[in-house]
Symmetry: C2
Subunit: 471 residues, 2 copies
Amino acid sequence: MAKTPVLTPQAEDFPRWYQDLISKAELADNGPVRGTMVIRPYGYGLWERMQQDMDARIKETGTQNAYFPLLIPQSYLTKEADHVEGFAPELAVVTHGGGKELEEPAVVRPTSEMIVNASFAKWVQSYRDLPLLINQWANVVRWELRPRLFLRTTEFLWQEGHTAHATYEEARDFAARIHRHVYADFMENVLAMDVVLGRKTPKERFAGAINTLTLEGMMGDGKALQMGTSHELGQNFAKAFHTQYLSKDGKQELVWQTSWGSTTRMIGALVMMHGDDHGLRVPPRLAPVQVVVLAIKGDEAVLAKVREIGDALKAAGIRVRVDDRTDTPFGRRAVDWELKGVPVRVEVGPRDLENDTAMLARRIPGGKTSVAIGALTEVLPKILEEDQALLLAQARERRELRTSDVTTVDDAVEATAAGGWARIPWSDLGETGENALAEHGVSVRCLLAADGSVPDSDDAPGNVAVVARAY
Amino acid sequence: MAKTPVLTPQAEDFPRWYQDLISKAELADNGPVRGTMVIRPYGYGLWERMQQDMDARIKETGTQNAYFPLLIPQSYLTKEADHVEGFAPELAVVTHGGGKELEEPAVVRPTSEMIVNASFAKWVQSYRDLPLLINQWANVVRWELRPRLFLRTTEFLWQEGHTAHATYEEARDFAARIHRHVYADFMENVLAMDVVLGRKTPKERFAGAINTLTLEGMMGDGKALQMGTSHELGQNFAKAFHTQYLSKDGKQELVWQTSWGSTTRMIGALVMMHGDDHGLRVPPRLAPVQVVVLAIKGDEAVLAKVREIGDALKAAGIRVRVDDRTDTPFGRRAVDWELKGVPVRVEVGPRDLENDTAMLARRIPGGKTSVAIGALTEVLPKILEEDQALLLAQARERRELRTSDVTTVDDAVEATAAGGWARIPWSDLGETGENALAEHGVSVRCLLAADGSVPDSDDAPGNVAVVARAY
């Protein structure tokens, strides 16, 4: 008798697999208002770990957290022409408050550049007030016509950084610092994600930016997902809000700004980059639960032993959960932890006790081995680091294998249709080629310099476009 | 020449003093949409410290964090009759999304009982799923006609806990546990706040609750502020949403629920309970900066010394900030740290270096003393603990001094008009007396049992009402 798979296999229907996983691993549910989501405790636990790590990295740059209002006067949105054009179709509008129609409707923030600048214009007076480095953790709303949990939701959670600097160079360098030393380092070292760092083409830039830096990841189906962006805003918002400072020379100067964001979409990326047909695989450095110790049966000696192991692992600095819910069948619990992607299961039954061993099941490479209970605190930290590295290596290998070098739009379309990315010299593609790709649902994810680094300009000689279908 | 006070003195105009302080200590600004606020980095730093400490206490009860949508279908609000009546006048309504009028308007959550129950009804199937203990950190919107920063704002930040239990007793005990072992312990031990724990009268209960437990604090002007509440919801919401479970006996039973919240209003309370004419006084256990080390002059030796002291204090586990911004006059910086309420200033100038001493200025009791630099790491932790205790003692003493025992409505009105609280036997007051007090702007803050504990019922013999004017 063939075992019914818990999830639709990836190869059969990737979007369906994704939905199944999000639901069965208890990461999130759809909310009642179209496009909204309920983030369940296990999914939110992943977000909390992401927040905690990123928050520390953001603070290391000298940035401080603050909080700006959810509701923005509708008139503010119109102050920067590109910005309003970019966001107008996605706005949620509050027309009634306290039982009355409002004199001026308020929009629910789709992002906070506008309302932040209203404050920055007051707070920045002198060069002594610069750089002003602010971040906020908040919810934003962008109306979604084709919502998908974590990837495109009408409401999502994020951090958004907003900074003001005295010079163009300082702003440019700060945006690059966030891009590489906050976002990329976090994604590679904690999320074990393979990300390509590049700059967006003018067509793909943030509404109101002069440059957008991006991190792009390849998902299990070969499509791309934008993982985070860091923008140079130039003086566009400073002009709209008169955000200026008195320089050392006694002149009024407009500030140079940046903004940068990363969102709960990273949870969706985690699923699609590391997940397999058995469920999620959570990188050990992120995992809220790194090791689960399971009692196979509700036998007194077994229960005492799993608790003892749990205490020992906790004392060794491992994030551990003891699963002694023996009124639920062992097999069901094992499948559930597999779905949730906990890196290692330590399974203990009456037979194991006789030999003072436990069965160790590794979620990331797969496979089971018997290990002496006394050796666990020594063995597990090594395994967790090994598996962390393995996830990143697997993701990187997939991206490299599935990326082709091409020189024509037709070949680029063919490569991406087969579930991969293509690299094409920007001199062969250009804006005409970019528009031609768009007709096939393919976009330029980013531009790279000839040596693979982030280019200094859109049209630097040797620039290469990375093109893909994207979420 | 008399020195112009930095703040309006409390005795002259308490509300004005409050506004001055919030603004000059850079805690918050008004947002552009009426009643909204921008929480500035120093104010948000206080909130982050509160969150961190409370979150750990909440998790110790077995509660997990999750996230529910901001937008709720308008129809949901009408499912529980008392609840909709309580919140209808305060709702912000989204009528347009994505450029179109919505088929059903959505309200911005004023609280999440409704949307949480929509999920609980799906998640709870069996007695094995109980208790279900969920918390979320979120923003909520309640339209405010008379906004005041932190105290009453159209949008505020909070944590809201929502739990479901198999029995009435378990829910009752859980609500009481949050009331005493999360809220009261945190407020007394970290915020150094004197709080009175009691139960609300039916008139003052949360819309939809069968019992509301409250913590009430006396502010510097003798008025009361509700600091947090913990509600027993009975089965009211369970009935509205059919939130039920299969019991061990195989019967479908409705769950018993609680909800509980505490908000950014605690920052306002901190200001009004501990502030004085010189500014805020932050309790050391909460303070993001416990000690600031100030260089009086920009002399090389002084700058080297303040950095050395900063490193030593940091190594000793003190949250320290080095202020070496000597391009700003020392006096201005000292006043600014006083306004912000940093518990201790360590001031170092060229003359102090000669004697290897520093001037130590204590914000909480006031006063300055010279201390050997080598003794700082030993002296400061003791001072910080002393000052923590002192703040609580001062607040408690004020409340005791300004509370009168009375037996008539007239005497209660007189006592509260003079800037204090009154205690009056509930048997002398009753609902008629409560309504009479309301005509004078006085409310029953809570009921206490004869021995000062939290009473088990509204009409237990010996119950005493604590009455006051309130924020």
